[in-house]
């Protein structure tokens, strides 16, 4: 028998009130990069319900270890942390085998990227990216160095709070999500122009990872917990002919 989360119904309509609007002038770059016409709403077809499937054999053993996956002459500088959490859908069910990809600045707030020219130095032992798949309970984890805040050109004195970028691929194309995780207690959160594009305070709170003293590794690393919610899908009580049903396949 299939579990409800494997029934692959249509995804619930996306609640756009919790997402930032495309045009958010306090984040200046969005002005010329935002559609001005309305989005056309589509009922899900197979094109939106399906999506790429990834396998554990595609990832390397150190892909979720940002402390070790670029260590050349020693360990990277900075606070050692573990980040973990669950990828759930809006029904509260685990999303298994979701591809979680992360990238971040080093402890000084500098990215290993040819376009980043911030004065803080590159850490020779830190790449700044990792990836993992969620397990059967939707759980993921990786370890890394806590990123530093950095200045950016928006207003002349804008700073990004410390953050880790996330990309998540669930089971369906319509669940595709890109977001950023912030850290409990960061004083720069309140004034971040990018966070402030989000209209709902509850939605902002959901992006801030609490420090989890129990999950840390004693005498080694602090832990932060970041749960992610992807869109949920409708149970298929009544077939709405999303596709012709073939009872011989898809078990």
């Amino acid at each position: 028998m299939k579990l409800p989360s494997e029934q692959y119904g249509e995804f619930y309509q996306r609640d756009r009130t919790i997402h930032p609007p495309a045009h958010a002038p306090t984040y200046k770059t969005s002005v010329l990069r935002s559609p001005q016409k309305t989005l056309i709403s589509l009922q899900n077809s197979l094109s939106e319900i399906t999506g790429p499937v990834f396998g554990a054999d595609e990832l390397g053993p150190l892909d979720n270890d940002l402390i070790m996956n670029y260590a050349k002459t020693g360990l990277p500088v900075g606070e050692r942390i573990v980040v973990y959490g669950y990828v759930l859908d809006e029904n509260g069910r685990p999303v298994r085998n979701a591809l979680v990809e992360v990238w971040q600045a080093n402890a000084g707030g500098r990215y290993r990227h040819r376009n980043d020219t911030y004065i803080a130095p590159i850490d020779p032992n830190f790449g700044g990216c990792g990836r993992t798949l969620t397990d059967a309970n939707g759980r993921y984890f990786y370890r890394t160095i806590k990123p530093g805040p950095y200045p950016w050109r928006n207003n002349v004195n804008d700073w990004r709070p410390a953050h880790i970028h996330y990309s998540i691929s669930g089971s369906g194309w319509a669940q595709r999500l890109i977001t950023q995780m912030y850290f409990e207690g960061d004083p720069l959160i309140a004034s971040c122009p990018i966070l402030r594009t989000i209209p709902s305070e509850a939605a902002v709170r959901q992006l801030i990872a609490p420090l989890d003293r129990n999950a840390g590794i004693q005498l080694d690393s602090l832990a932060y917990r970041f749960d992610i919610v992807l869109r949920g899908s409708r149970a298929t009580w009544f077939e709405n002919a999303v596709q012709p049903d073939d009872p011989m396949q898809g078990e």
Binding site: R33, S34, P35, L46, S47, N91, W103, A241, M248
Partner: protein, 211 residues
């Protein structure tokens, strides 16, 4: 007395945030300028044994000033040559091509803004209510300044009859806007190239979908 109803217990989707200027570090580290993973996801979808017509899809994503985005990241998702998605939810009676996942990830060139995918032309997939959809490729576009990833579809200029019947293209009330989703077929030195420029704003703004 007022009787309250129990609350429905749904979680809220996590809010989207921009991919930022350094999206390449996480999703395409070679483009950021370094080597870290053994296996890299990329813009070549078709291997030597994949079934179907070899095509290249290329274009630019253009902002409201007419400037191409040089830091955009695009993912595509498509059916195989038989019109079947490589996913268990696709229960159409059609063969899976084991040599074809149907997914790719590409970045625009930092100088020209041109991105490209090497893939095969997909077959038609059955749509809702037993109405076939014309062959198409699904696009997801993220970059600095894009707060929620943009979803659109690319159709093929040489599929006029199928496009005219496509249930999604027909949902677009303004016929003049449908052409923003149709890539132009060209032949270059014996290779088939579909050109697909995406305009984020302006009179030719591409149709984006809330999927």
């Amino acid at each position: 007395m007022t009787i309250m109803v129990n609350k429905l217990e749904y979680l809220k989707e996590t809010a989207s945030q921009t991919a930022g200027p350094y999206v390449h570090i996480g999703l395409a580290p070679k483009q950021a300028g370094f080597d870290i993973f053994e296996n890299n996801f990329g813009n070549v979808l078709a291997g030597p044994k994949t079934k179907g017509e070899r095509i290249r899809v290329e274009g630019r994503v253009i902002d409201g000033s007419g400037t191409p985005l040089r830091d955009v990241l695009i993912e595509i998702w498509q059916a195989n040559a038989a019109g079947k998605y490589n996913h268990p939810a696709d229960r159409q009676k059609k063969p899976i091509d084991k040599r074809f996942r149907g997914w790719g990830r590409g970045c625009s060139d930092f100088t020209t803004g041109i991105w490209a995918f090497d893939t095969i032309k997909p077959g038609a997939v059955m749509g809702r209510n037993d109405r076939p959809m014309a062959p198409h490729i699904n696009f997801w576009i993220v970059a600095r300044g894009i707060n929620v990833g943009l979803s659109t579809r690319m159709y093929f200029s040489d599929e006029q009859a199928a496009n005219a019947r496509d249930p999604v293209l027909n949902l677009i009330e303004w016929e003049v806007r449908r052409k923003t989703l149709i890539a132009t077929r060209e032949e270059r030195k014996g290779h088939v190239v579909y050109r697909f420029d995406i305009n984020i704003q302006g009179p030719d703004e591409t149709v984006f979908f809330d999927i």
